[in-house]
Point group: C2
Chain length 189, copies 2
């Protein structure tokens, strides 16, 4: 059931870093995005893959993590992602992305979850620094970085409380809690 896969597909930020991911696995994941919808079928998205420690380190240095967790700047050595898929837009095809990158990211992460892995969509990226580090040509704009690995943390969904606070948080057992709005609060007609 797709609902089970969607429910299992949480945003994971801590991983068993020693569990590597093959480049072929990343290609299979991008193929899921390739087969997904694209506005006017223009397919302006391009992808950069990384699964070796050196390239991973270059990417990791340009990411910001979990804005609400003020005491936790980023994954420590040993719990960092094993791989990344960078989603770019090829501005020679199209300048505006619409919702293509969301469709692509969701397809990739559902595939990731099905493989027993997990990941996180990161939009908080030092884009110019990452462009220089990876020597990305100027025709491509960096949209998102998907951090991937074997999750080492537990993430649970709960319903937003009366305060309306949607900030995720970690409890004393280091479980990550994510408040989601109730269905009746998001259907308005």
């Amino acid at each position: 059931m797709i609902k089970d896969l969607i429910a299992k597909n949480r945003s994971y930020r801590r991983f068993f870093q020693e569990v590597s991911i093959e480049r072929q696995t990343l290609r299979e994941l991008v193929d899921l995005a390739r087969l997904s919808a694209s506005g006017a079928n223009l397919q302006p998205l391009k992808y950069i893959l990384s699964c070796d420690p050196q390239k991973n380190a270059l990417i990791f240095a340009h990411l910001a993590w979990a804005g609400y967790l003020k005491d936790w700047p980023s994954p420590s050595e040993g719990e960092k992602p094993s791989a990344y898929i960078i989603i770019l837009i090829d501005t020679q095809i199209r300048n505006s992305v619409g919702c293509d990158h969301g469709i692509a990211a969701q397809s990739i992460l559902l595939g990731t979850t099905e493989k027993g892995l997990g990941g996180c969509i990161i939009a908080s990226v030092q884009r110019e620094g990452l462009r220089k580090a990876l020597e990305i040509p100027s025709r491509y704009e960096i949209l998102l970085v998907l951090a991937l690995g074997k999750p080492s943390e537990k993430v649970v969904i709960e319903t937003v409380g009366p305060s309306g606070d949607i900030k995720y948080w970690r409890d004393a057992e280091d479980i990550h809690h994510v408040p989601k709005r109730a269905l009746d609060d998001i259907i308005i007609g």
Copy 2:
């Protein structure tokens, strides 16, 4: 396998209009979006559902269909969608949507496909006209309209040819062809 579901989840624009969709089905589909990722977990998306003929007609009047099919303006009576999910952003929560609407649309359409239905993400919407027709308060901006129904057309994927043309087209047997870029053409590093 998620790949089978993604491959089956084509953009359908002609439906068996007589096959109705219950409001409860639409609620189940929105619940898939509710459980999906949202930037900074802010969850600014809201949803309007429609599955009755009168409301459907109001929505249909404000949509543009299949830009590349110059001889086919829109679905005829009898092949129109049975239901719609309108995705809005609540600007009292957030003004910019990032990729949330793409994530939500993909979750909803994968669920739609699993139920033996199909749909199309429509971004070409006469937004102010639709706002007036449905009396949508100004705090909400219309992002996308998902047209849903029981597909009555066949859609096939093919690989983009040497010309690079990505325009979808219909053959003499009325089969809808969608050229997709090859995997090696979209992975650039």
